[in-house]
């Protein structure tokens, strides 16, 4: 798994690629929650290169969504492959995030 973080103004852009497995979920969660400490205007996550996500990875995202709800911003998930989309669909999580087909659309919506 690789995580890259950049900023577009007050928007935090997080690119996650590879397998978000149980083994790396803790470091992903740590990284993500540290980023939220900065209270971004929105978090846009690019999942185009994400091939697998485990329930521990979902947990990190759920914590981020809760934090966002509390601090007043949204988590945007962009470019999910069909497999990843199905995981979110099955978990009923599509409704707690804003979902976009591509990073560009996600950024446009977040701005």
């Amino acid at each position: 798994m690789k995580i890259a973080v950049s900023h577009q103004g007050a928007i935090a852009v997080v690119t996650v690629s590879g397998r978000l497995s149980s083994a790396v979920a803790d470091s992903f969660q740590e990284r993500l929650l540290a980023l939220l400490e900065e209270k971004p205007a929105a978090v846009v996550m690019d999942f185009a290169e994400l091939s697998f996500i485990t329930s521990s990875g979902l947990r990190a995202l759920i914590l981020a969504a809760k934090r966002g709800r509390h601090d007043g911003y949204h988590i945007h998930l962009c470019g999910m492959t069909e497999n990843i989309h199905e995981v979110f669909e099955v978990s009923g999580l599509l409704r707690i995030f804003l979902i976009h087909p591509s990073l560009e659309e996600g950024l446009a919506a977040a701005s």
Binding site: S55, R59, L63, K66, G92
Partner: protein
């Protein structure tokens, strides 16, 4: 030992200092001179002078070295003093050398800096040379010390069982007498073969093994010991002359704990043996601690397994099976079966985020919540809504679970379910075709308070099987990191409609294990299969037996309501009859003498009316013939009379049988 012998040894020490340390010290003097002459050295003139002085002091000390044995001194103290004296000029060399290096770097004096760097390297070499010439453990090299005639100071130590293997009788005698005096139990053997049979026959804490022995050498014995799983952790100390340094290194690589140079020194022997025994003791403590932790986890696993249902409830319309294999000792998956009434059975499968102990604890919470709600007879969607609210109200840790809960109604095969973020279960039709049970995709439970859960239903034909599983099945990975996936699960199930639910579960587990190719399991794995064998066809019939407890009434009423609503019984008839039944049951529970153990409620539909029977095993009680004015029971019975169109009481053997009749409204009795 003679005085002459001591003098010879002192001379040998002086010789070693001159030959080993001398040449490096000479190089230092040369480098110091070169430093003083280097271009730019005038800026560090003072420091360079000090360095020159220290270098001369070192050279003079080495030239003049004449170690002497004072009245109370030993060879070791002589060496120790010598080491100390020789190091004194080194402190000055190192200190001024580093200072010059710093000044040179700041002022750009390259030549001076280089010379200072060289000087510091040489100082390090002198340190090493001194250690080589006068090792700190020189007692080991100096045979028996004069002062060791006296007993070494007493230090508390561990006594152990020691095996000594040495072909020299003299060496064995020395070691046995040393070790016995230290309080050890000692066994001595004279060759390698005897050593091997000794360690195989009786337990030892440590083995002292001579390197060179007739027949079987020490290193061969070592190989045997380290190759035997039962003996692998037995520490071995090699005994060897110091010139066999290569063989010592080889033995240590092969697993020897330490070595002991010949001839023996008591202090060293005691130290090395003590270290071995201490290490062994710590290892034993560690092992016992590990064993205790494992035992607790094993108990936790037994506890966890014991809260999973032992078997699928016996039912003539259903056949089912469940299995859960945790990835670690304990896991976060669970399944459960609930007997809601005679017709309806609930099945639940859950998967808590994470693994191990935290997941197992949360799993127990989720399961308890679900059980408390489900047994109350609530619909799947209501159950999940309540469980979710309970779980997400206090959830700082962000724990959550996926939870699937479905209820099968055996009267007609209706399967009603709600899905809190769980994998779509599989539906294996009687003809062998496979489909996914989609719909009702709601959020994982424990995430958002107040989240709504929905219900879907499907109709099972006789022979159809519902297969519910967790991530451990579809997310299992093979050595190449490919996922098992839904497609492999579908392929595994398809066409197996004739196999028993237990065989289906076992088959999927075996397929996943095979796929993983012996890799460690990545997740807990659960499979639950439930097959509908065919309804009893009598959709008009309701039958349920409850214990005579107030808490049971809720379950009964929920079941009755589900029955009436499912069969589209008109509210005008269903509502009052339900109320009348509730009153009758409350009467039995609250006003009986406590001897009634169970109440059975049956409802059948007869043409234009519903006929309910409430049967209990308490003492004779005829509610239709009560005197006016009797306290509370009278009010309840009055209510019953108002609600129904007919009421009859019969005492049959040991049972009270109350029959309640309620007419159906005209619109409902038109038959097709």
């Amino acid at each position: 030992m003679t005085i002459g012998g001591v003098e010879t040894r002192l001379a040998a020490i002086a010789h070693r200092v001159r030959t080993v340390v001398g040449p490096v010290a000479t190089t230092i003097a040369e480098t110091a001179a070169a430093l003083a002459a280097a271009p730019g050295a005038e800026s560090v003139a003072n420091e360079a002078t000090q360095i020159g002085k220290a270098a001369r002091q070192l050279a003079d000390m080495i030239d003049a070295v004449r170690p002497e044995l004072g009245p109370d001194a030993s060879i070791e103290t002589v060496c120790s003093h010598l080491r100390h004296d020789l190091r004194t000029p080194l402190v000055a060399l190192k200190g001024y050398g580093e200072l010059i290096q710093e000044i040179a770097a700041g002022d750009g004096l390259d030549a001076v800096g280089t010379a200072a760097g060289l000087l510091l390297e040489e100082v390090a070499e002198v340190m090493v040379a001194i250690e080589r010439a006068l090792p700190a453990l020189s007692r080991a090299l100096t045979a028996e010390d004069l002062s060791s005639e006296a007993d070494p100071p007493f230090t508390p130590h561990l006594a152990g069982r020691v095996l000594v293997a040495d072909d020299s009788q003299a060496n064995r005698d020395v070691l046995v007498s040393y070790l016995t005096r230290e309080g050890h139990y000692v066994e001595a053997v004279g060759d390698g073969l005897a050593a091997v049979s000794a360690v195989l026959e009786q337990p030892f804490d440590v083995v002292l093994l001579d390197m060179i022995m007739p027949g079987m050498n020490g290193d061969e014995v070592l190989k045997v010991i380290k190759g035997e799983p039962r003996l692998r952790s037995l520490p071995v100390i090699m005994i060897s002359a110091l010139d066999a340094f290569d063989s010592i290194v080889r033995c240590i690589e092969e697993g020897a704990e330490d070595y002991l140079p010949k001839p023996f020194n008591r202090v060293l022997l005691r130290a090395r043996l003590g270290a071995c025994l201490e290490k062994k003791r710590l290892r034993e403590i560690e092992l016992s601690y590990l064993a205790a932790v494992e035992k607790e986890l094993t108990i936790a696993r037994v506890v966890q397994n014991s809260i999973l249902p032992k078997a699928f409830p016996a039912h003539h319309c259903l056949n089912g099976h469940g299995l859960m294999v945790p990835a670690r000792e304990i896991g976060g998956d669970f399944y459960d079966f609930f007997v809601l009434d005679d017709n309806r059975i609930g099945i639940a499968v859950g998967d808590v985020s994470g693994k191990g102990v935290p997941a197992a604890v949360y799993m127990a919470v989720v399961r308890t919540q679900l059980r408390a709600t489900a047994l109350f007879g609530l619909s799947p969607a209501d159950c999940l809504t309540r469980v979710n609210d309970h779980l997400s109200a206090e959830n700082e840790q962000g724990m959550f679970a996926s939870l699937f809960y479905g209820i099968i109604d055996c009267a007609d095969g209706t399967f009603t379910y709600a899905n809190g973020g769980h994998n779509w279960p599989a539906l294996l039709r009687a003809d062998g075709t496979m489909e996914w049970i989609k719909g009702a995709n709601d959020l994982l439970v424990g995430v958002v308070y107040g989240s709504a859960y929905h219900e879907s239903s499907l109709t099972l034909a006789p022979g159809d099987t519902v297969f519910v599983y967790t991530d451990g099945v579809v997310e299992a990975i093979d050595p190449a990191e490919a996922e098992f996936g839904k497609h492999r699960l579908a392929a595994e199930l398809a066409g197996k409609a004739a196999e028993s639910p237990a065989a289906l579960c076992d088959g999927v587990l075996a397929a996943v294990r095979d796929f993983e190719g012996g890799q460690p399991r990545s997740d807990d794995l659960t499979c639950v299969a439930m097959r509908f064998l065919g309804g009893h066809g009598d959709v008009s019939r309701f039958e349920m037996r409850i214990a005579t407890e107030i808490a049971e009434i809720g379950r009964l009423i929920n079941a009755l309501q589900a029955h009436f609503s499912h069969r589209a019984v008109a509210e005008e008839a269903a509502y009052p009859l339900t109320m009348a039944i509730e009153e009758a049951v409350i009467n039995i529970i609250r006003h009986g003498d406590g001897t009634a153990r169970a109440v059975s409620v049956r409802v059948v539909r007869e043409e234009d009316r519903l006929v309910a029977e409430v049967i209990d095993d308490g003492p004779r009680f005829d509610p239709t013939h009560l005197e006016q004015g009797t306290a509370n029971p009278g009010i309840g019975l009055h209510l019953i009379k108002t609600m129904v169109d007919g009421m009859e009481y019969v005492r049959e053997g040991e049972f009270n049988r109350l029959r309640l009749v309620k007419s159906l409204p005209p619109s409902r009795i038109r038959s097709p």
